[in-house]
Point group: C2
Chain length 447, copies 2
Amino acid sequence: MLSLNFANVMDEVIGDKGLTEREIEDLRPRITDALKQIRDRKWEELAFLDLPEQDTEKIKDLAVKIKNDSENFLLLGIGGSALGPRAIVEALSPLHNLRKKPRIFIYDNVDPRTLSAILSVIDLKKTTVNVITKSGSTAETAASFMILWEEMEKLLGKDKAKRFIATTDPEKGNLREIVRRFQLDSLEIAPGVVGRYSVLSPVGLLTAEVIGVDSKELLKGARDVRERCLEEEVWKNPAMILASALYLLGTKSGRTIDVFIPYADGLKSFSEWFCQLWAESLGKLGLGLTPYPSVGTTDQHSQLQLWMEGPEDKVVIFLRVEDYGADMKIPLVFEDMEGLNYLSGHTLSELIKAEEEATELSLAKASRPNLTVHIPAIDPYHLGQIFMFFEIVTALVGFLFGINPFNQPGVEEGKNFTYGMMGKKGYEEKRKVVEEAREKKLCWTLR
Amino acid sequence: MLSLNFANVMDEVIGDKGLTEREIEDLRPRITDALKQIRDRKWEELAFLDLPEQDTEKIKDLAVKIKNDSENFLLLGIGGSALGPRAIVEALSPLHNLRKKPRIFIYDNVDPRTLSAILSVIDLKKTTVNVITKSGSTAETAASFMILWEEMEKLLGKDKAKRFIATTDPEKGNLREIVRRFQLDSLEIAPGVVGRYSVLSPVGLLTAEVIGVDSKELLKGARDVRERCLEEEVWKNPAMILASALYLLGTKSGRTIDVFIPYADGLKSFSEWFCQLWAESLGKLGLGLTPYPSVGTTDQHSQLQLWMEGPEDKVVIFLRVEDYGADMKIPLVFEDMEGLNYLSGHTLSELIKAEEEATELSLAKASRPNLTVHIPAIDPYHLGQIFMFFEIVTALVGFLFGINPFNQPGVEEGKNFTYGMMGKKGYEEKRKVVEEAREKKLCWTLR
């Protein structure tokens, strides 16, 4: 089970800049109310909590088929449709595309260079394309889907439909309509499951199974952590403590940037998954906390200076791994060199863990608050735990802020301007606004 | 040549929350003084400015040798020794390891899972290892170097030395001593070139040449932008305007987070390179600006909500690409579907550029300041430009803050604690501090 150490946010350890027990105690009624909303499933969008109980049979069947008939698995999706699957692949199958089949490509943009590069290395006839969009009409995903649809048509004619799997709403939307029309294989994203909370739905699980991960292990981890985090005792519940600490540090001490730093290369994408969850859920009404994606030890040589001595606006969340599942000893090869030989005899995992602990401590000694989530290993079970854990923490913080952690109203206007420029019917006015802005910009350009 | 559009930080466009011409004018004496420090090379560490004039012959010779005798190029380095080379590979050679030889591996951590995975896919006998550490004793780099040194010894005996290239200080440090002792091939990092400003030194250029990029093009771009940005006329100099705007928005309006969002997958690593440069250079004395790495259009579905409606603490820096060097038309495949067919007939590059412009505009309409750096293409020449451009901007902002943008005193304490734990002589006291802290932490752990 994951554990949480929060010594380095407490005043007893880091002095005046830390939290007092009393402050956490004072927040108890509100965090307890927030937890009740979750326990009682007060919002439809809390459906993510019940994903551990889903039936995975169809996902498993499709994965078997893909593994049998495909050398490549190309996922088209963006945001929550891509970040979760990528986090799973990078955490559980390092250097996947150089070591295993089917190779996994996740195209989550409309960058033509990337798509050209992908198409130059895959044989489409041996590729399964998984199109993921809950609404069924996400512009970026639709664009690449239509291109792939035509490319497959050229190669396979009517048989093209067999190379596609759609993951979308069970009933609504253009993609579901296409499923019906062309009899595509498909998986369902339940209406209450929002994109950024969807990694444990078929969105993430199909990719997991395709790379050989037992999705039941992911779900078991998620279920166990859910049980642990829905207990109503604040001082024993790591989700309630983490949510309370980050909320208090954000609102009372202006520490509004939450740096997330797992000490494992394989969890760099997990950082990015977390950052979407945190940013899009909490950034509303002028409120919110800014997540910062990071990875240790690497970013000690990139960001640590800023965390140690820059503005006091950050809380650092460490993710510590106990067992890396692989290790290597640093040999005694340069005996007479004091600048190097102290490392000899230690293993890489001793070094990475020592650095993690040293960084926690140096921040604490500088009165810079930080917390540490520990996981025993990077495996499907514990990955499932941290997915569910941070989803619950995010919802709790949203409820503490009094905002809706499940919508994203702020991205609509940008979509409307894009529609205007792309000539979508009904958006002619938006196009005019863009053109006016262009003229204005001319005076403020340095060439 | 790159260009800068700064309409969306001006009050004329975004209203009261923007900057006035007067504010920029008032800063003129200080930014002019900052520029003079750069022009006059007042700091030894401004040596990066003169990298465009370096002799690249030895780099080119080594690269030819590597291309002839190696299937893999394994770079060991961390921070500035890794981020620049990675930015070059990802920008200029998409999906490199699936398409080209030698394959490039950049190991910039001490994560044993990653190193195991790399060693499982490369044949060491056909691998050149490039060890990059300016000091010659960076712990992470030293650890992996010693492991590789022994592995090569097992395979090749005394010939192992031929598989290594060291990139380090010309005179000092353990790695230079090893070069002398074992007659390794080596390249030099000039004493005045700080890690995070070293991408255009042999640190970045060797990798560039190995992937087939003409390093002279990178340097030519850098030189041209340097000439442009050392002109003393603030209203015509994009580096002075960008530095002034970010400094003013940071200090006067509390917009201390600078989001960096290139609209190109290949520049995601460039984002991370920029973030190290910005964070480590400017985060000092309680001052500084926090960079945020991002990529468009992807992060419109991840971060944009927060930028639009979260706290007013951000400035967004767009990097817009005019020509992607590849393109694809979105076909008319679902004629009757209004949610999709508006895209048909457009190209992917039209869509990505429309989205970039739409996002700029929607932020501006919400009075959220943003600027746009335009580059004509992602090629060596323009990559060289943006490296040098942001290095100059960083130094300018550092001088405006009155801090030293070239040191990183805040990371020493963490290193000392690590030395203590690893048993390095002279750090016994630090070890005790770690052990005391461990005891204290026990009371604040939730398992």
